[in-house]
Amino acid sequence: MLSSTIAKSLVGGLAVALLLTGCGRSDARQAQPAAGAPIDAEPADGTITVWAMGTEGELLPKLAAQFSQANPGAKVQVTAVPWQDYAKKVQTAIASGDAPDATMVGAVDLAAFASTGGLEKVPSKLVDYGSFYRGAVQSTLFEGAEYGVPWYVETRSLFYRKDMAKAAGVSAPKTWEEYGPFLQALQKQGAKWGLSLPTGATATWQSVVPFMWQAGAQIMNEDGTKFTFDTPEALKGLEFYRSFITSKITSPNGPVSLGEIEPQFVAGSTAALIAGPWEENLLKSAGGAPFVDDKVGITPLPTGPKSNASYIGGGQWAVFKDAKNREGAWKFIRWMGGPDAQKAWYDLSGDLPAVESAWNEGKLATDATLAVFRTQLKTAQPGPNTTTWRQVTAVLDAEFEKVAKGVSSPQAALQEIQKKTSAIGTGV
């Protein structure tokens, strides 16, 4: 218990502390040229320090060794950083200027980092942006300028129980019309639920917004000044999402944590799910390799009124303003964005190349599962790159949850979303 002396000391202390810390905040955003200074074609030299996350960080030194062979004067020093809280690490690096030369950035985080003014714009003509998937390029843009170079991509397609589909005599759905009946046929084979969809867990939007895209919705206007969730197309997409739940194809209590759905898929109580390239390994560890070979089918997302657009994510590279070896860092990034290095990286890590031409030979060209993702990538797109997007996704997840649980109608939810996201704004 605090005695009164302590209470008094506390008040005094607080007052002094407030005086000492003072107040003052400088605007972090600074004016920048349209693009970084160009980079020459000479080999790189000097030490290049880079951060890369998770498995990518553990494997990158092997790729960097190949770079050093072509650039004997350069040495790449890789620090593997955990995905968990990596954004905090990048932000403190920017705030203190105590940063490496370059860092890998998750596609969704670029806008937040770029907006602090701590990243350099990509030098003009460093890479040919036309060689990457369009969706990957979109996620490198912030306020009309490129801040990152795409490295690898991931997108989501439909995984389903091939054995159940065979027993039911149905083939993978191609359109929205075939979607529901296909899943119901799988349910008749004993699956409690036809399709697993998130119903309010973090990042539910990554599964729901694509339905809107498929219906033809644009959730932000052309010049990026306003969110546009109040369109008939967005409504159609959200109604389609809800139809899975009302027709009891999808559980209103969807998965909330990673790794939750795989065992149910293996047990056959859930017949389909939407996931990315990593899913194959998760299913292998949950059900074994024979299960994946014999019972798992994969197909591009069924096409809606407009398209079969999926969500695109992945990793890209950015260079810090405080980089000590700026030239070397950009040269390393330029090299990693080339088709040969992209293919070499796929061989090392299994990450899908962001450069389209890297898919033209080897397993990338022949594998059936990869072919599905390749098709899906053509139309896949990222969420809008605004600094406010994280706030917006919190609103989306909450409202989509209300729709999933039947608390709110799609119309009411979209009205609420439009109202709240207009208040949040796009940060412009």
Partner: protein, 291 residues
């Protein structure tokens, strides 16, 4: 006859024990057992899970006992480069912080409790203020400060900010405050200097709060994730929690087997420490009023 009375005596006392146990006691023990199970179950799950293959950990329906026990997860963990180094780093940081806290917090606590000097209340108020301000708000400024001192990516950078903690100063001050002034005065009359009083009179009496402080500091540093993550610029300065996050938590999935094996490795030293110090720990918490 004597045997008879002895046996009846034993019988009645037996009934007496039963009677005394029956009403409230059974409820109490029942509640305690429930609490015990709730406390131990996660640990049991962790230990059992660490020897299951990954498929079995996420299997549905799940089971407690491993069907095919394996040490694969531990092998995978130990095969990771530098695992020994991360263990060393964690130990070095935690042990140094514990020693720093024991020494400096008890000295500061003694000064605040038993000495008179100008600005004492104000200074102590500042210490309390630091307790109240959430660490998250001072995180970035602290990093900038340490980085400007040239200490990022060094052991000193990992240790220095936590060498003295306001909680430790407060804890020690409260305990020492309750030691009778007459003890200190008697020592002064006998001609002992402050150093001697501190070492010979105060410290020996402070074993319970010192043990508490040791455990709290060790726990905080052993589990610390964010600071080591940010301050270590190369992997050779990573501590166990950072390395563990790196190995097991991916962008789109978690390797639960590896994570559980890592958790076992991280938690075991703490459990041992607690077993050694638990008597002092409980006493320390009870007598300083910190819960």
């Amino acid at each position: 006859m004597t045997t008879m009375s002895a046996s009846t005596g034993a019988a009645t006392s037996g009934i007496g024990v039963l009677r005394r146990i029956r009403p409230a006691r059974i409820m109490l023990y029942g509640a305690l057992v429930v609490g015990l199970i709730a406390t131990l179950a996660p640990f049991a799950w962790m230990f059992l899970g660490s020897v299951k293959p990954t498929g079995e950990i996420v299997a549905y329906p799940s089971s407690w006992l491993p069907r095919s026990p394996t040490l694969d997860n531990f092998e995978l963990l130990l095969a990771k480069q530098n695992f020994g180094l991360y263990f060393f780093n964690s130990t070095l940081v935690a042990v140094t912080c514990v020693m720093g806290n024991l020494l400096f917090c008890s000295m500061a606590g003694y000064a605040f409790a038993k000495m008179e000097f100008a600005g004492k209340r104000l200074l102590f108020g500042l210490v309390l203020t630091m307790l109240i301000i959430p660490g998250a708000t001072t995180f970035v400024p602290l990093f900038v400060l340490v980085s400007n001192m040239g200490l990022s990516n060094s052991y000193l950078g990992l240790i220095l900010p936590f060498l003295v903690t306001p909680l430790g100063v407060f804890l020690m001050r409260q305990f020492i405050h309750d030691i009778p002034d007459s003890l200190v005065e008697a020592a002064r009359l006998d001609g002992a200097g402050e150093t001697r009083i501190f070492l010979r009179v105060i410290v020996p009496l402070c074993r319970p709060p010192l043990a508490t402080l040791a455990i709290l500091t060790f726990l905080a540093q052993w589990n610390n994730f964010l600071w080591p993550l940010v301050i270590a610029q190369t992997e050779d300065h990573y501590t166990l929690p950072v390395a563990l996050a790196l190995f097991s938590v991916g962008a789109n999935g978690t390797n639960y087997g590896l994570l559980l094996a890592g958790a076992v490795t991280v938690v075991t030293p703490i459990l041992l420490l607690f077993l050694f110090l638990q008597r002092q720990f409980v006493q320390g918490i009870a007598s300083t009023g910190i819960k």
